[in-house]
Every structure is written in structure tokens, then in C-alpha cells.
């Protein structure tokens, strides 16, 4: 059975619950950003919404792929669906899991990268031509990293760390520029916690239990985002 890395067996299922919660949170934020876009027709809200939709897609693929890995009943269902199509030409399990992880990684990396671009102030961005070429280059790198990460998982989490590091920096600048706005501070902390979770995932090969810490920090990061979102939408 193909796996990216090995995790504590007793934690199987709990990570799915954590990520299902994170999935709901990102969908909530994506939905609100889309609502603002419908009102203001300002493209940055559309791209911000798209970024969180990409994260949601990433979580969804992870839930599906990992769910099939954990539960034999789901494996049998996947087997019955895929076997007639692929037959015996390839190891279908390998194909299924590799595809699932690939799609998860491409979506997550795309989401983090889009958040990085959107959180940059426009004056800090390059002229249109260079911006387009920059985006094309990053798209290529995302696909390449996602393919490589199927064989060396830590490359994905390392790349997420780098992108999230830049996102945290952008939000730190935003916190200073908004006169130390409390909501901006909470958003910065949310992404910082998510960044720390990726650090734990990188070193899972040393100690399996780090996967649990990573999942916990990831969940706390998204819960803090949810808290910030509720603070904003509840305020009159």
C-alpha cells in the first residue's frame, strides 16, 4: 500500500476530522470573500476566494486519499470502481494514491501561492508582463514540486513553509500598516501557526508523533482564522 509517510496508527481518523474542520473553515472564508466580490466587483476578493477554494480542494483530495488508505471498506469500493478501468496494466493502488497526493499538493501549493500574491500590496508587485511571467514560472514549479513530492514528501512541506513564510511576512507588514490592527494580528498568527505545522510535517521521518503535532497546529491555525472571521462578521 502506497503512503507518503507513516503516521501513528491510533491517530488515524483524527487527522481526517481535523482536516474536515479546516475544510469547512476555508470554505466559509472563500464564501465571504466571494460575497464581497459580488458586491464590489473588485478582483482581489475573487482571487482571495479562489485561493481558499484551492485549499479546500487540497483538503478534499487529502480526505479522500487518506480515507481510502485508512479504511478497508473504502479501499474495496475504490478497488471495484478502478479495477475494470485500469485492469492489471498498472498497480492501481499506486496510481490512485499518487494521483490523489499529486492533486492535493498542486491545489494546496496553488492556494498558498495565490494568498501570497494577493496579500502583497500592488505597489510592491511587478509590471504586468513580469507578473504574468512570474505566475507562469510559479505554476511550473508547483507542478514540478508536486510530482517530486510523491517520491520525497518533505519537498512539498518544505515548499509550503517557504511560501507561508513569505505570507506571514506580508501579514506582518499589513499588521504594521494598519496601525497594529488586532484582526490583522490574529490573521498573521493564524498563518504563523500553519507555517509551524508544516515544519513538523517535514520532520515526520525522524519521529512519527510529529505528524500529530503538525495536525494540531494546523487545526489551531485554521480555528484562529475562524475566530477572526467571526469577530469581523459579528461586529456591527
Amino acid at each position: 500500500m502506497y503512503r507518503l509517510f507513516y503516521t501513528p496508527t491510533w491517530f488515524n481518523g483524527w487527522d481526517l476530522i481535523f482536516e474536515a474542520i479546516s475544510l469547512l473553515i476555508v470554505l466559509l472564508i472563500a464564501g465571504y470573500s466571494w460575497k464581497i466580490y459580488r458586491l464590489s466587483a473588485d478582483n482581489k476578493f475573487k482571487y482571495f476566494s479562489l485561493a481558499f477554494i484551492l485549499l479546500a480542494i487540497g483538503f478534499t483530495f487529502k480526505l479522500i486519499t487518506t480515507g481510502v488508505l485508512y479504511y478497508s471498506a473504502l479501499q474495496k469500493i475504490a478497488d471495484s470502481v478502478l479495477q475494470p478501468i485500469i485492469q492489471n496494466k498498472v498497480t492501481y493502488a499506486d496510481l490512485f494514491y499518487r494521483s490523489g497526493f499529486f492533486l492535493q499538493m498542486v491545489s494546496m501549493l496553488g492556494g498558498w501561492l495565490l494568498i501570497f500574491f494577493v496579500s502583497q500590496k500592488s505597489r510592491a508587485r511587478l509590471t504586468r508582463f513580469y507578473e504574468v511571467s512570474q505566475i507562469v514560472l510559479f505554476l511550473y514549479l508547483i507542478v514540478l514540486i508536486s510530482i517530486v513530492s510523491n517520491f520525497q514528501y518533505f519537498v512539498f512541506y518544505l515548499t509550503c513553509m517557504v511560501i507561508l513564510g513569505m505570507v506571514v511576512l506580508n501579514y506582518f507588514k499589513n499588521y504594521l500598516n494598519t496601525d497594529r490592527n488586532w484582526n490583522a494580528f490574529l490573521v498573521m498568527d493564524s498563518f504563523l501557526l500553519i507555517l509551524i505545522s508544516q515544519l513538523f510535517f517535514v520532520f515526520v521521518f525522524l519521529w512519527e508523533e510529529l505528524y500529530i503535532l503538525g495536525e494540531v497546529f494546523l487545526l489551531i491555525g485554521f480555528l484562529l482564522l475562524l475566530f477572526t472571521y467571526r469577530r469581523i462578521t459579528k461586529a456591527a
Binding site: 464590489s40 506580508n170 494598519t178 490583522a184
Partner: protein, 95 residues
């Protein structure tokens, strides 16, 4: 001199100026209330009409003289109500 208003704040000022006048206002009055130049206001009005937040209607004034006024639409009213939350969201997420 105060700091420059963001695009969102400018849109809010324009819509609020219309709302404060009962939902419809003459373009000249709007220019003074929103503290914008004629050129800038015109560009914003064009954009807001496109986004269906305002509309230009003909209103009968004094001595049955028909004048054009800028009126707030339902979408514009919704934006005004949501503005505080939108502003907080924009600031928090650096948009």
C-alpha cells in the same frame, strides 16, 4: 491634511452621501458632499452604475423642472450595510 482614502472608502463616502440625502442626490451636490473632483467623481459614478450600486433617474424638481439625480439601488444599500464588515475583512487580510 488627512490620509488618502482607499478605493473602498471613496465608494462608501459616495454611497453614504446619497443615502444621507434620502436616497437620491444631484451630481453637483454629490461632488461637494463626497469631496471629489468632477473627473474623479465621474469615473467612480460610471463604475458604480456598471456595478448596479447606483442609477441615474430623472426627478421632477421645483417648477416642474426635470433634473437628473443619482439614486441608490438595493445593491448599493446592501454594500453600505456591509461596509464596516468588508472594511474590517479587507484590513485583517491585507486585501
Amino acid at each position: 491634511m488627512g490620509s488618502r482614502r482607499s478605493r473602498l472608502e471613496l465608494v462608501f463616502d459616495i454611497l453614504q452621501a446619497i443615502q444621507n440625502k434620502g436616497g437620491a442626490i444631484k451630481p453637483t451636490h454629490l461632488m461637494y458632499k463626497s469631496n471629489l473632483s468632477h473627473k474623479l467623481l465621474s469615473s467612480y459614478l460610471d463604475e458604480l452604475i456598471l456595478k448596479e450600486m447606483i442609477e441615474i433617474i430623472e426627478k421632477e424638481g421645483k417648477r416642474r423642472k426635470v433634473t437628473k439625480v443619482v439614486a441608490l439601488t438595493e445593491k448599493g444599500s446592501t454594500f453600505l450595510a456591509e461596509f464596516r464588515r468588508i472594511k474590517d475583512f479587507t484590513e485583517a487580510f491585507g486585501l
